[in-house]
C-alpha cells in the first residue's frame, strides 16, 4: 500500500530522515514510535505532500508520488486522510460546516445526503448534538474527535494520525486509541499512527516501527518487539510496563 525507499529529508543543515525504507501493507494498523524530533511527523507529512523529500521515493497504491506537483497530490490527499496533532478545526465554521466542507469540495451531494454523512461520521466518534457549535465551544478532546470525524467522513483508504492523543487525559487517550482501532477495522483502512505510547501500540498495532535519529532502528509485530534487544525499544517497553 505505502512504500518508502531510501527517503531523505533535511531542514537546513539538519537531516531529519536519513534513508527510510519501509513497507506498509494494506489494512494494517502501523504505529511509528520514537522520541521527539526523530522525524515521525515529517515522515507522515512527506507521505501526503505537505513536505517534500530531498531524495528517495514514496509509493502509494502503486504510484510513485515523490515528484508529484501540488495539483497531482490532490488525488493522493483524497485517498489519504490525516488527523493532525492539533485538532486543526476552522474556528470560523461550525462543527457541521467543518465536517461538511470536504464533502462539498470533493463530491456533488445533495444537502440532506451531506447532513446524513456528517451525522454518521459524528456518531462513529461517539459525538452528537454539537453540530451548530463552534470549535471554541467544545472541549479539546471533543475537538480531536471532530477532527477525526472530518477525516473519516471522506472515506479515505489510508488514515494518518499524527500524535492523536497528545495533550489529552488518560481516559480520553484510551477512548481515542480504541476509536482508531475500531474505525480502522470498521472502514477497512490502512492506518499509520505516530505516537510515543508503546503500551497502546502493543495493544492495537499490527506492526510497530521504531525510529531513532531519522532511521528505522527496529520493526515488527508487537510480539516481535517484546523480544527486541534494541536499547531504545527496551526503554519504551520499560516505560510501558511502569505505566
Amino acid at each position: 500500500m505505502i512504500k518508502y525507499k531510501n527517503l531523505v529529508k533535511s531542514f537546513g543543515t539538519r537531516t531529519v530522515l536519513k534513508g527510510i525504507d519501509l513497507h506498509i501493507k494494506a489494512g494494517e494498523i502501523v504505529f511509528i514510535l520514537g522520541t521527539s524530533g526523530t522525524g515521525k511527523s515529517v515522515l507522515l507529512k512527506n507521505t501526503v505532500g505537505l513536505l517534500r523529500p530531498d531524495s528517495g521515493e514514496i509509493w502509494i497504491d502503486g504510484e510513485n508520488v515523490s515528484g508529484y506537483s501540488e495539483e497531482q497530490f490532490l488525488s493522493i490527499r483524497k485517498k489519504c486522510g490525516m488527523v493532525f496533532q492539533h485538532p486543526a478545526l476552522f474556528d470560523s465554521l461550525t462543527i457541521y460546516e467543518n465536517i461538511a466542507y470536504g464533502l462539498r469540495k470533493h463530491f456533488s451531494m445533495a444537502e440532506n445526503e451531506i447532513e446524513r454523512r456528517v451525522e454518521q461520521a459524528l456518531s462513529l466518534v461517539n459525538l452528537d448534538n454539537i453540530l451548530s457549535k463552534r470549535p471554541g465551544e467544545i472541549s479539546y478532546g471533543m475537538q480531536k474527535r471532530v477532527s477525526l470525524a472530518r477525516t473519516v467522513v471522506l472515506q479515505p483508504k489510508v488514515l494518518l494520525f499524527d500524535e492523536p492523543t497528545t495533550g489529552l487525559d488518560p481516559v480520553t487517550t484510551n477512548s481515542i486509541n480504541t476509536l482508531i482501532q475500531s474505525l480502522s477495522r470498521k472502514l477497512n483502512t490502512t492506518s499509520m499512527v505516530v505516537s510515543h505510547d508503546m503500551q497502546c501500540a502493543l495493544k492495537i498495532a499490527d506492526h510497530i516501527v521504531v525510529l531513532d535519529q531519522g532511521q528505522v532502528v527496529d520493526q515488527g509485530t508487537p510480539k516481535q518487539l517484546l523480544e527486541s534487544e534494541v536499547p531504545l525499544v527496551r526503554d519504551f517497553l520499560e516505560e510501558a510496563r511502569n505505566q
Partner: protein
C-alpha cells in the same frame, strides 16, 4: 556558517544577508503572483469577503476618524504658527492644508492605521492557523490556502482602504475647516474658495489610487508573514511584529514612488 564565523567575517555576513534577502523576496513575489492568479481565475468566497470587509471597514472607521481629526487640527495649527513666524501671514494655510490632506494625509494615515489594526490581525490569525496545522488541514481537504485565506482579505482590504481613505479625507477637510473658522479666522466660504484654488479633481483620483495600492499591499505583506510563521507563541508574535513593520515601511516607500510618479502628471 555559525553566528561567530559571520561576525568575524564581514563579507560572509553581507553574503548571507544578501542570500536571505533574495530568498525572502523571491518567496514574497511567488506569493503575490499566486494570489493574483487565484484572484483572476476564481470567484472569491462572497460570505468571507463580506465578513472581512466588515472587519476592515466598520471595525476601523471610528479609530481612523478620531485620528485624522487630530491630524487635521495639528496640520492647520502648526502650519499657521510657522507661516506667521516666517512670513507673518497664514492666508495660504487653508489651501496648502487641503492639498496636503488630500494628497498625503488621508490615504497614508488610513493605511498606517489599517496596518496596525488589520495587518497585525491578519498576520496573527494566519500565523496561528499555520502553527495549529489548520493550513495543512486545508491542503488535505484539497482547498488552496491562498484562495481560501488571502484572496478574500485582499479584496476586502483594497475596497476598505479606498472607502476609508475617502471618508478620512472628507472628515479631515471638515475638521480643518472648523479649525480655520474657530482658531485662524477664516470662514468656511474662504476655506472652500482657497481649497478650490489649490486642489484639482485629479488630486482626489490620485489619493484613491494611493489608497488602492496601500490596501493591496497590507494583506499581502501580513499574510506572507503569517504563512511563514515559525512554531509557538513566539513565532506568531514575531510574525505579527514583522508584518506591521514591513507593511508600514512598504507603505511609506510606495507613497514616495506613487507621489514621484504622479508629479509627472501635474
Amino acid at each position: 556558517m555559525t553566528t561567530k564565523q559571520l561576525i568575524q567575517n564581514p563579507f560572509a555576513f553581507i553574503g548571507v544577508l544578501l542570500i536571505h534577502t533574495c530568498r525572502d523576496a523571491r518567496a514574497f513575489l511567488t506569493l503575490v503572483v499566486q494570489t493574483l492568479f487565484q484572484l483572476v481565475t476564481h470567484l472569491p468566497r462572497k460570505k468571507e469577503t463580506i465578513q472581512q470587509l466588515y472587519f476592515v471597514a466598520n471595525g476601523s472607521l471610528w479609530t481612523i476618524i478620531f485620528c485624522v481629526c487630530f491630524a487635521a487640527v495639528v496640520t492647520m495649527l502648526e502650519s499657521s504658527f510657522h507661516m506667521k513666524l516666517v512670513i507673518q501671514n497664514d492666508s495660504m494655510v487653508p489651501g496648502f492644508a487641503s492639498l496636503l490632506i488630500l494628497r498625503e494625509l488621508g490615504a497614508i494615515v488610513t493605511a498606517l492605521l489599517l496596518t496596525s489594526r488589520i495587518g497585525a490581525g491578519m498576520a496573527a490569525e494566519i500565523g496561528s492557523m499555520k502553527v495549529t496545522e489548520q493550513i495543512d488541514a486545508l491542503k488535505m481537504l484539497g482547498i488552496n490556502p491562498i484562495r481560501f485565506l488571502i484572496v478574500p482579505r485582499l479584496i476586502a482590504s483594497t475596497i476598505g482602504c479606498v472607502l476609508l481613505s475617502i471618508i478620512a479625507n472628507l472628515v479631515c477637510i471638515f475638521a480643518a475647516m472648523i479649525v480655520a473658522d474657530q482658531f485662524l479666522g477664516y470662514s468656511n466660504g474662504m476655506f472652500l474658495t482657497a481649497m478650490r484654488r489649490f486642489v484639482d479633481f485629479q488630486d482626489i483620483i490620485f489619493a484613491s489610487i494611493k489608497a488602492f495600492c496601500f490596501g493591496f499591499v497590507i494583506p499581502l505583506v501580513s499574510c506572507y508573514f503569517g504563512f511563514n510563521c515559525r512554531t509557538g507563541a513566539d513565532g506568531v508574535g514575531r510574525a505579527t511584529t514583522q508584518s506591521v513593520v514591513f507593511a508600514s515601511v512598504a507603505i511609506i516607500v510606495l507613497d514616495f514612488v506613487l507621489s514621484y510618479t504622479f508629479s509627472y502628471f501635474y
